[in-house]
Symmetry: C2
Subunit: 293 residues, 2 copies
């Protein structure tokens, strides 16, 4: 069992990883080898102490080199669920992995896309975050897919092979998928409705010419960079969509810490690395005090 | 009047300065051209994201270069007092300067030397932090000087020119002062006592062979890197010697923010730059909301 599992490979997650490494703790860092879209896409960072007027790409390369020097690997699996078990945590991934740790640090970043009303309520009852996990349930059915990045188009294609009709709702430009059974809608729904399961996707106005403002569907897939914190870890307290933390980055769940954009503004690299550092020290103290009990 | 005065040129103060600069705010940064002893003396920094295994000296040079590129000057005056006036702040320095600002950020670092019991109580009644300001009051008298750095020995010499007897209590090795009227004690006092003014310096045991554990003195000078936060700004709430702050680095005094080691552990560069960043954003928001009133 790991001392800690860090979820997120942005500046907060990396800062936490470097500090746990310096403190000699065992941990896994879940994220992407290219670390973070939000870093690499930053044009110029003007106020990060120690690196003058650095581009996002250069900052990202510096972080990658630093991880590599410290022999810290990024586990490239997408975390779908975190479970607070009896004094430990379980982490499950889309790739089918399951890992355990004494503590977790949620460094999830922030989604610019908000969750839809009803999404959390119907999770597991028609709402899914994982095409390859749940796609087979929708063979021959009608589904909607909220997709935030071209990177997930292969998952949309996978779903289109199974479902009869796919309403694809992308939040990016330049969709490259063209299939007869994929209908692209350029409007975000406002609500998911249903009785026991998802039945209707509600829009504030018809999402396309000739379409209804209320679409009958059997399921909704939300393919996003990250899962919202409260969905990822049941019982986690949030406030205006941000994880609620104390000054030492503790969440309301014992052994669970959080850092970076997901804890609130300012959405800044310096703030994120600071919080990642604090969280790693808090984890170290938590592990030490746990041993003394 | 400045938008902000930042006190302290360690990582927290510099991070705050870079962010205020990026936000287009006017400010002064008080500190030292060589920034911070604690940085330059750091052997190797292992966990600062973006700079791999950097020495303190190299980190310091990177920060200096960055300040220089942004044309941010360090005002090399020692701040002795901060005054919360009506909706603004006044800052006075040992060099006789007086400056005003709408907000302040205290990025004072932490003193490894604690204040002595009675020190705050007798400040201005026998306790002083400034040899050149108050030395003349002790002409022909007996004083004790607590000195934390060789850098202040010229102030001790200045005092020795005036006072009859100087008990010098250094916290560093290799004192270079040798005068007949300077007696070096290698023990820290535990208490300052007196009625209206300072009368006695109390030690837990005789501080030197043949000396008394209770020394009769007329005054005490404490020559330190920084003044303790609560002494610097009257009414500032502290907790175990650390400035009490909220998650967005506000102190209990409106318009006064704090960042870095002085707000508490962990004493880490990443934590300090993160807090400096947050404080600068909080100042920016405070200035904006003030304008709207």
């Amino acid at each position: 069992m790991q001392d800690c599992i860090i979820i997120g490979s942005g500046p907060a997650g990396i800062s936490a990883a470097l500090t746990l490494w310096a403190n000699g703790k065992s941990f896994m860092l879940f994220g992407r080898a290219d670390l973070s879209d939000k870093i690499t896409k930053a044009e110029l960072i003007r106020n990060y102490p120690g690196l003058s007027l650095v581009t996002g790409q250069a900052f990202c390369e510096a972080l990658q080199a630093q991880l590599s020097e410290a022999k810290i690997a990024v586990t490239e699996e997408k975390v779908l669920g975190v479970y607070a078990l009896n004094g430990k945590f379980g982490v499950s991934t889309k790739e089918g992995g399951y890992y355990e740790s004494k503590t977790v640090i949620l460094a999830l970043g922030v989604e610019t896309v908000k969750t839809i009303e009803g999404e959390t309520e119907f999770l597991g009852r028609g709402v899914s975050y994982c095409a390859t996990c749940d796609g087979f349930l929708y063979k021959g059915k009608t589904i909607a897919v909220l997709c935030t990045n071209k990177r997930y188009e292969h998952e949309v294609a996978y779903l289109a092979d199974l479902a009869e009709t796919v309403y694809l709702i992308p939040t990016y430009k330049g969709v490259e998928l063209a299939r007869e059974n994929i209908k692209i809608l350029r409007k975000m729904p406002v609500k998911i409705e249903g009785d026991q399961r998802v039945e209707t996707l509600v829009f504030s106005a018809p999402p396309a010419e000739g379409a209804e403002a209320r679409l009958k569907i059997d399921g909704v897939f939300a393919l996003r960079e990250s899962v919202s914190p409260a969905v990822l870890l049941s019982g986690l307290e949030t406030e205006n969509g941000h994880v609620r933390v104390t000054r030492d980055m503790q969440t309301n769940i014992k052994g669970c810490f959080s850092a970076g954009d997901c804890t609130g503004r300012p959405y800044q690299y310096a703030k994120a690395v600071g919080e990642g550092n604090i969280a790693a020290h808090a984890v170290t103290a938590f592990l030490r005090d746990g041993d003394q009990e």
